[in-house]
């Protein structure tokens, strides 16, 4: 009898220790605020990058070759930006800087200056999209 009771108590202790209170607390959180925080979480080092890339996506078509560049100085900035650009711009070909000759568009995050031969298509608060001049 004691052994049985001990087993039940131990089972309840395991369940209590495994319990994830967040899955109850989540009903009380401000959904809109938390969603906004989560949306920006993967882009936290580059504020405005996500809406900028979404704007670029809306202005380009599947198959377009796009070079995404940025005048940022911190180490591995390009890998950080490219890793996110490839996701948002899926279907377009995101290029490495050495392939600028193949680019139809150059998206400059937090900047306006692009390589020669490209003309601005639009500028928003987060950057500029340039199209190859024909």
């Amino acid at each position: 009898m004691i052994r049985r009771a001990l087993g039940v108590v131990a089972a309840i202790a395991v369940a209590a220790a495994a319990f994830q209170p967040f899955y109850l607390r989540v009903f009380l959180v401000n959904r809109a605020r938390m969603a906004a925080m989560l949306v920006d979480l993967p882009y936290r080092r580059t504020p405005g990058l996500r809406p900028f890339l979404e704007h670029v996506r809306a202005s380009t078509r599947a198959g377009d070759a796009v070079l995404v560049t940025a005048p940022v100085q911190w180490s591995s900035a390009y890998e950080y930006i490219d890793a996110r650009a490839i996701y948002v711009l899926a279907g377009r070909e995101v290029l490495l800087p050495r392939d600028v000759g193949r680019a139809r568009f150059v998206a400059v995050y937090r900047g306006a200056a692009g390589p020669p031969g490209f003309a601005p298509l639009w500028t928003d608060a987060n950057g500029t999209l340039l199209r190859r001049a024909t």
């Binding site: 395991v14 495994a18 967040f22 899955y23 989540v26 938390m34 906004a36 279907g91």
Partner: protein, 413 residues
């Protein structure tokens, strides 16, 4: 999210047909749980097959392939009957509702979703096929082109159903994987203890382990398929367990390791005859291994001189063990409670749970061997993966401890 929910219901219906074929003894929540997991796996396999056959993914092609196959396999339509409801189920349902709210709250945010599983899914969706050129040429780190494709294909299944890519709706897959596993667990625990309440209790206890906090990552499907596989094999449902193992192997390389671990577990439990019956697992895993070799998709663990790396790490094993000791294997109180609970039932555990214990031990040994072969900085690799790796085996381990702790009403009767 209506389109995605409808797609998951269709997959579950097709999965129930498969479950009836693979597991004649399945009924009630076990049948529904197996159906959900088989159904999502089946949808991914259909997309893989269409891609290999050169048929572009369309809603019609996917529907015809899924419904056609299910119709051929169906013998008769009989809706699964449910076991009695327990008040404890309310706890599970509330927590699952909370998990659903969390998983679908925002476009998926984990970097491994944006940089790996979701990225591949989205690239495939844009191409309406597996985009081999993308996998061969993608230049950012962390994409792992060689990783098995079940999860990206499952994302594609939902996107094809909607006709568009919806990041937030993809979180529903996490919920479906957790629900599928919990339904399997609930039935098996009730069957084993002879108590509906005990079954509901075990399912509620396992919810935090099945409901992976990493939304959009492959942990949730691997935990679901892997745990269901081990528990079904433990029960003697070898065909269903082997297919679950195959789906785990189609989800992550750790699932491939689990096939080996399960075979070792069967050997340790003196069920060597059942090892050959795991062939469906190998049959499901094999096509991707062939495809990734044919398309020259690189595997980071196999890059360079594996032998030299292992020898180098073995020369200084302290580095690995220090990293493991410093890592958090999940919540400490949970593991302390598990240790005490396991100590209480240590005799029956060692006597009757050799299969699960040996399979879990073998799986962990394979993970440690993989660290030895790692091309990355070992402390970094351990720090960013150990908690997730432990989460793969925690549910099966917790299940066997809990069912040994709870009174067996069948014995009393």
């Amino acid at each position: 999210m209506i389109a995605e929910v409808a797609a998951l219901l269709l997959a579950a219906a097709a999965g129930v047909v498969l479950a009836r074929r693979l597991d004649r003894a399945a009924a009630g929540t076990l049948l529904i749980g197996e159906g959900i997991l088989f159904g999502i796996g089946f949808a991914a396999v259909v997309l893989l097959a269409l891609s290999i056959a050169g048929v572009p993914w369309t809603r019609t092609a996917v529907l015809v392939a899924m419904i056609g196959t299910a119709a051929v396999l169906a013998r008769r339509f009989a809706p699964p009957s449910l076991r009695a409801f327990s008040p404890i189920d309310v706890v599970t349902l509330v927590l699952l509702a909370g998990y659903t709210r969390f998983a679908t709250m925002a476009p998926l945010w984990e970097f491994d979703y944006i940089g790996d599983f979701g990225l591949k899914g989205r690239a495939f969706f844009e191409a309406r096929a597996i985009d081999w050129h993308f996998l061969q040429t993608v230049f950012v780190g962390g994409v792992h082109p060689d990783y098995p494709p079940l999860l990206p294909l499952a994302f594609d299944f939902l996107a094809i159903s909607r006709g568009a890519w919806d990041d937030a709706a993809q979180g529903l897959l996490n919920v479906a994987f957790a629900l599928g596993l919990l339904l399997v667990v609930r039935h098996l625990a009730a069957e084993e203890t002879g108590s509906t309440h005990a079954g509901a209790f075990v399912a509620a206890a396992l919810l935090p382990l099945a409901a992976s906090p990493w939304i959009g990552l492959a942990e949730a499907p691997l935990v679901a398929f892997g745990t269901a596989a081990l528990l079904l094999l433990r029960r003697g449902s070898v065909a269903a367990g082997a297919v679950m193992l195959g789906l785990a192997a189609l989800t992550k390389n750790e699932g491939l390791a689990l096939i080996v671990a399960a075979a070792l577990g069967l050997a340790a439990a003196k069920r060597a005859r059942d090892i050959a019956r795991l062939w469906p697992a190998a049959a499901i895993a094999l096509p991707w291994l062939v495809l990734r070799a044919v398309h020259h998709l690189h595997t980071d663990l196999a890059e360079g001189s594996v032998g030299a790396r292992i020898a180098g790490h073995l020369r200084d094993p302290k580095l690995l063990f220090d990293a493991l000791a410093a890592s958090r294997p999940g919540r400490p109180f949970f593991w302390m409670a598990m240790a005490v609970a396991a100590a209480i039932v240590i005799r029956p555990l060692l006597a009757r749970e050799r299969f699960v214990l040996a399979a879990v031990a073998a799986q962990l040994a394979i993970y440690i061997a993989a660290y030895l072969a790692s091309p990355y900085d070992v402390p970094w690799h351990v720090r960013w993966s150990w908690e997730r790796l432990i989460s793969h085996v925690a549910p099966a381990l917790t299940y066997v401890v809990l069912v040994k702790l709870l009174p067996d009403r069948r014995a009393a009767a």
